[in-house]
Symmetry: C2
Subunit: 638 residues, 2 copies
């Protein structure tokens, strides 16, 4: 039997199979990119294909309307092949590429958040120094009487200019040397790294081009963000984000690890993050800043332990299986060329060190940025990602733990969910009588809504609960114009009717979305609760709460407390600090002291393995209500 995957706007891929085989499995075997964050259990509804010819057997799904079914749409994970057939596959890779969102660095908000954290680190005694040098050289051209070869000519000039003892020329620079010297008429800028007596030559640029560029990257399970920095001034040159193309191998780290364990899986997962995600993003940022990717001479990456392993193509199975041993926490010898990153091949790639199997370098970097390591106050740091991680402590001690929240905070597993970019509903109030919403949408004046991001979902759930529209389990208990139910009786709250949205499709939050979100917030709250209990500290000890992650800067802390997501402490103690992992990576990119500080943070951090910790599961079950089975934990919400 033969299945043809016709990729939208692209090629067709054929694969032989037997009757009854699962279409999503076949797509993976044929290496056809398909979005499947739930990894094929029918719950996310993202793996849709349109039947073009032939026949398939497909279980009904709430994600496919009757009209869509009529038009041939099916969920491939719920579909069996019963004859030769052809299906249309939406172009996922293309969609990911086009979803790259670059930040407007003219926006004071972007720059202010960055400067604030860098200034705080400077204030805490972190000096942003590094050994990178850009040395402009006016060389004499060779003649029949001066036949010194290119590499010696450059080496001597660099030794003269820098006083170093030896110049190392890695392959990439050597391969470009002859042409670069001649194209620039022997007036060039040699860029590289001076370490002790050794200068490593990384790039040969035109004489006047003395910019030294570093990249900072946060690799989240769902979202990837990167920034380019000027190593001399520490200023932001460009910033942007996109989805992690590994999403088609599962929404969470466990599914990714399982997929990476299949034949060829390590390579596919590595290609998804390097070639489909990071390289287009870095190339786009470089192009925007007028740079060649060779100009990136240092990269610092904050990523969770699994993302780090998959990035390197290192076997990650041991992260998932007892005794949960990663192949590395810290590892210092990576170069960009080793994994084919779109940067100078000789550029060191510094991974913020992992703390445990489920508390990774992103948290180390985030802790650096949040400043817990230097604080006298007792701080709680909460990173709201697909993995939720919690750090508690101050300059005396720090401990951390992780929980699997799922992608709901970043809009994943939510029918109309999206990241907090233009078109996202980032805040909402609901009139208790009319049940009419007032939406706050990210973007320019007049921007209509496209979907809803994490901070918006918090508001909607808090308001629905406050006005008695949903109950503590998240089920609809009132009816009205804004409440609709499908034929199975599942209720949803309509935030925007089709004519009110940017896309012409209804924007709503249904009971499954609410349930997914309640589980996410329950995971976070119970992790906080368990960790505080483990050190026998009451909520009142907390002097400051840093909330980080892609949930959206519009997060309303009152609402987040009232749904039982964050502990009930005075609101002035809360501070949303955005992408702390990226900020910490930026700091590392700008100097080796910040890098060393990250090493100290990771080495001194106590790691609490929640999955085997007594009481955690009970705490989680109790937290999967609005706000909690024990409402007394949230006195201000009463």
């Amino acid at each position: 039997m033969k299945v043809t995957f016709q990729i939208q706007g692209g090629e067709a891929v054929c694969i032989e199979c037997s009757a009854g085989e699962n279409l999503l499995e076949l797509a993976r075997r044929a290496n056809v990119a398909m979005d499947a964050p739930c990894s094929g259990n029918g719950s996310c509804g993202k793996c849709r294909v349109q039947l073009l010819s032939g026949e398939v057997e497909s279980a009904p799904s709430r994600h496919i309307t009757a009209e869509e079914y009529q038009a041939g749409w099916r969920l491939s994970c719920c579909t069996k092949v019963v004859s030769d057939c052809a299906v249309l596959v939406p172009d996922i890779a293309g969609a990911y590429r086009s979803r790259i969102k670059t930040a407007d660095l003219n926006s004071p908000r972007e720059i202010a958040a960055f400067n604030q954290i860098m200034d705080a680190l400077r204030g805490a005694g972190i000096a942003f120094t590094h050994g990178y040098k850009a040395v402009s050289l006016a060389l004499s051209a060779p003649t029949l009487d001066d036949t010194m070869p290119d590499n010696e000519r450059v080496t001597r000039a660099i030794i003269q200019a820098t006083g170093c003892a030896r110049v190392v020329i890695p392959y990439g620079a050597m391969a470009r040397l002859a042409r670069a010297l001649r194209e620039n008429g022997w007036k060039v800028c040699a860029k590289g790294l001076l370490q002790g007596e050794i200068f490593t030559l990384m790039d040969i640029a035109p004489y006047e081009n003395t910019l030294l560029c570093a990249a900072a990257i946060d690799i989240g399970t769902t979202t990837v963000t990167a920034a380019l920095l000027d190593l001399d001034t520490g200023l932001l040159l460009a910033k942007g984000s996109c989805g992690n193309a590994q999403i088609r191998y599962g929404a969470d780290v466990i599914n990714r690890i399982i997929q990476s364990g299949r034949p060829g899986g390590q390579k596919r997962l590595q290609e998804a993050i390097v070639e489909e995600t990071l390289n287009p993003l870095l190339s786009r940022l470089c192009a925007g800043a007028g740079l060649d990717t060779n100009a990136i001479v240092r990269l610092c990456i904050g990523a969770n332990t699994t993302m780090n392993h998959l990035l390197l193509g290192v076997d990650a199975q041991s992260v998932r299986m007892e005794p949960y041993i990663p192949s590395f926490f810290a590892w210092e010898d990576l170069k960009a060329g080793d994994i084919g990153l779109a940067a100078n091949a000789a550029a060191p790639v510094v991974l913020a060190p992992n703390i445990g199997s489920y508390v990774g370098g992103d948290i180390t970097a985030g802790t650096l940025a949040a400043g817990l390591w230097n604080s006298e106050e007792m701080c709680l740091f909460i990173d709201l990602g697909t993995n939720g991680e919690i750090v508690f402590g101050n300059r005396e001690f720090m401990m951390s733990c992780a929980c699997s929240a799922g992608p709901a905070f970043e809009g994943g597993d939510i029918s109309c969910g999206m990241r907090s970019t233009d078109g996202a509903i980032e805040a909402c109030t609901i009139n208790g009588e009319t049940m009419e919403p007032t939406l706050s949408v990210i973007g320019p004046e007049g921007q209509k809504c496209v979907g809803i991001c994490g901070s918006g979902i918090i508001d909607v759930i808090a308001q629905l609960y406050r006005h008695g529209i949903i109950n503590a389990k998240g089920l609809f208990v009132r009816e009205g114009k804004r409440i609709k139910r499908d034929r199975h009786g599942m209720g949803r709250y309509i935030l925007a009717f089709p004519q009110e949205s940017e896309t012409g499709r209804e924007i709503s939050l249904n009971e499954v979305d609410i349930d997914n979100f309640i589980r996410a917030k329950g995971a976070i709250y119970s992790a906080i609760h368990t960790m505080l209990a483990a050190v026998d500290m009451p909520v009142e000890c907390i002097d400051r709460v840093y909330v980080a992650g892609g949930i959206g800067s519009g997060i309303n802390m009152d609402n987040a407390v009232s749904i039982g997501m964050l502990p009930d402490v005075p609101r002035e103690k809360f501070r949303y600090i955005g992408n702390a992992s990226l900020m910490g990576s930026c700091a590392m990119a700008c100097g080796v002291q910040a890098q060393e500080k990250c090493g100290e943070i990771a080495a001194n951090m106590t790691y609490l393995e929640l999955s085997t910790y007594p009481g955690y599961m009970d705490n989680f079950v109790a937290a999967c209500f609005i706000p909690h089975t024990n409402a007394a934990l949230f006195p201000s919400a009463l």
Copy 2:
């Protein structure tokens, strides 16, 4: 217009073109491998294709017989496209791969030559020491109470075993670490390089597998030879050779440089030597020795300046154009992974340093092996390759020069030429009366001839001249059963009639072959003559003559002198030492002292640029006769 290249036993490649375009050019544009050592001037006859359909216009060629023409055979370099057509292309790449010839290390001759040179170097004070270590480690398996990550576990054990201060784990070893530890039950052998306080981990093998393997490679313009060595014992593990697949971009370095300068040329030439030549050869040798290519932890390469540049993908145009500046003479920072060699990616690749634009690292390595640098006697070292290189001197001084001999010594540009492997006529005597030859053929008892190698050609020309069958210009002046002429009157001497040869084709030497060979020997002799004159030393000063190269170990020095190829000195001063470049590379592979000695040799060697040297061209013209216009230079041949 459309041309289809049907590759023998492979795919078909189509290309669009205009009427009148040259077929060889089109093949190159379509990246179809085609043998063209003369680089397309019609003289070598190697770029044959067979017309399958359509029409072409083709100039007649002495390389295509009437029967072959009838069957559709054409020389692609002499062929214009005049309609849509399809041609059959012999599978060159496959032919090169299948032409890998591995040496029989049970043959005492192979081993003796190797041991003799290694012993001589030991005698000259070269100690074969290196920092490579194979450390067997019995690690404790991780548990829930011992959660140290893999890399720290291995690092600590290596520090304990070696006393080093730091362990560097390059990417390749890191990527394999998790699996290697678990597959071997935590009992492994860590192989790597200890330099000062730093151990660089390169491979993780099973506990008992402690072999450390180095590779030595001679990259000739025509032939590539490689050997694997046991770093501990210095013993040969495997040896083999094959053609340089770059041959399809021209037989000599000048044509190769020109081809590399075309769009994409650098990459194509690099792929030809790395992926089509070296990697199959190294893989074959490793497979024969029961090794994974990852086991190769050090590589040393002797190659001429152009081959070195093309191997690295470094722009070589400046080697060819005044003021003839290579991009490098010596360069120390190459790793196997940089250019994708089939070896451990972190293995250092040591290039024997170049001396000048046309005296390369192969001569440096050859000079090391021949021992001139340690000799009190005045030595002449002659490397008979596509480039002929000469070194003259002793421990007090050394000078070198190069001439372009063409591939004739290795059987190239000779209609029935071949390398000195099984089936090659390596020696020959001719009866002066009957003109009947007595052939000596390489190979097992009863081996019939396939072609003729360099040493055989010397014998044939010497004998033909001695018996007055050819004149001083190499033209036939006697007739007989063994002398045939074609319709243009070109004479040839038949060494084997069709029924006498292995291939069923006639084996002969014609006037063009003889002329090509006379030019090659004229280039060599005039270079020697010019260099001796430059230092004002007569032939009598020479105490010893080392002849190296792939010309064949059966070289008859008497005959070589009598045709005016080598200077007329007493025959006991001559010694044929085979592939000196490979031997020198083997010595370098076995220890850093030999590598340092090569650096000294290159740095102290005076380079004489013949192409601009007064008198060289006159000397060359005078030497293009048998034996010379001034026969008095060869008193013993009179």
